[in-house]
């Protein structure tokens, strides 16, 4: 039996660079599919006020409330990490500090999500 060769670590693979890229893709796809549905449900305002209110009312429950929390989490990460990508591409020191910037993104994301969760969940569960 030959010894299994596992790929040695590189600057990119399996590290902050690649994982942030994976997370950026996944959150991007999630947001895109939400956007398609979001335009379709908002378009119901053109059908009738009752049709729009009926669909929005069906969103006003704890399960959809938690879904909205997940959606905002995806949007906030994609936004902050997108600004990091712009900094890596256009700022002279960007590539040097891309890892530190990712931890900045994660930290800001956590602070934003804690604040948003308190506000949003009190709307969702506060009745």
């Amino acid at each position: 039996m030959s010894k299994t060769l596992t790929p040695a670590g590189t600057l990119y693979r399996g590290r902050e660079g690649q994982w942030s890229w994976v997370a950026h893709r996944i959150t991007g796809v999630v947001i895109f599919f939400f956007l398609l549905v979001h335009v379709l449900d908002t378009s119901l305002v053109r059908v009738s006020p009752e049709a729009y209110d009926a669909v929005i009312a069906s969103y006003k429950n704890p399960i959809m409330g938690l879904g909205e929390l997940g959606l905002v989490a995806a949007i906030v990460f994609h936004a902050f990490n997108g600004l990091r990508v712009i900094a890596v591409d256009f700022w002279k020191q960007g590539p040097r500090y891309h890892r530190q910037m990712l931890w900045g993104v994660v930290g800001l994301w956590a602070i934003t999500m804690i604040a948003f969760s308190i506000r949003h969940l009190s709307h969702v569960f506060g009745g």
């Binding site: 893709r25 991007g28 796809v29 947001i31 895109f32 956007l35 398609l36 335009v39 379709l40 908002t42 378009s43 305002v45 053109r46 009738s48 006020p49 729009y52 209110d53 929005i56 969103y59 006003k60 409330g65 909205e68 905002v72 949007i75 936004a79 997108g82 600004l83 990508v85 712009i86 591409d89 256009f90 948003f116 506000r119 949003h120 709307h123 969702v124």
Partner: protein, 155 residues
């Protein structure tokens, strides 16, 4: 003896043998790359304000109903805001998914079909959303019945 000078490789003049894109496709991928960064930076502002007004300010998600939308679109600033957001987000998202399809769909026919569905969806959603923003009526009369709201004329 004259010192030979070597032209800077970034001077913009690339010998024809070294160009990496064929002329028919032009700079499309570079423009798309640049668009993702420009639209992304603008979308951060547009969407964060959008989330603030619909999920954080006032009653948050509990306050969203037909009247909320009507109140917003009574102001042309929010109409333009939402229109810009619709177009930029759809083009940004469509280009992102296009890149993902190109990355993972290996068969030419699969790529073509997936991108066909993607572009068709994009056109439908962008046109639908644009029409809705511009033809929105806050006080519609449906089958002879006028919508009742405090901001609608009563007669």
């Amino acid at each position: 003896m004259a010192v030979p000078t070597i032209e800077s490789p970034r001077s913009g003049r690339v010998a024809p043998g070294y160009t990496r894109t064929n002329s028919s496709r032009g700079n499309f991928e570079m423009i798309a790359w640049l668009f993702m960064r420009l639209s992304g930076a603008i979308l951060v502002v547009l969407i964060f304000v959008h989330l603030w007004t619909s999920l954080i300010a006032g009653d948050g998600i509990s306050g969203v109903d037909f009247g909320f939308v009507a109140g917003k679109w009574a102001d042309p600033v929010w109409q333009i805001w939402d229109l810009t957001m619709l177009w930029l987000a759809m083009l940004h998202g469509t280009n992102g998914v296009r890149v993902i399809i190109n990355d993972y769909a290996e068969k030419n026919s699969t790529r073509m079909w997936l991108k066909g569905v993607l572009y068709a969806s994009t056109v439908v959603i962008v046109i639908l959303g644009t029409l809705v923003i511009f033809t929105f009526d806050p006080c519609p009369v449906i089958d002879g019945v006028a919508h009742v709201a405090e901001y609608c004329p009563t007669s």
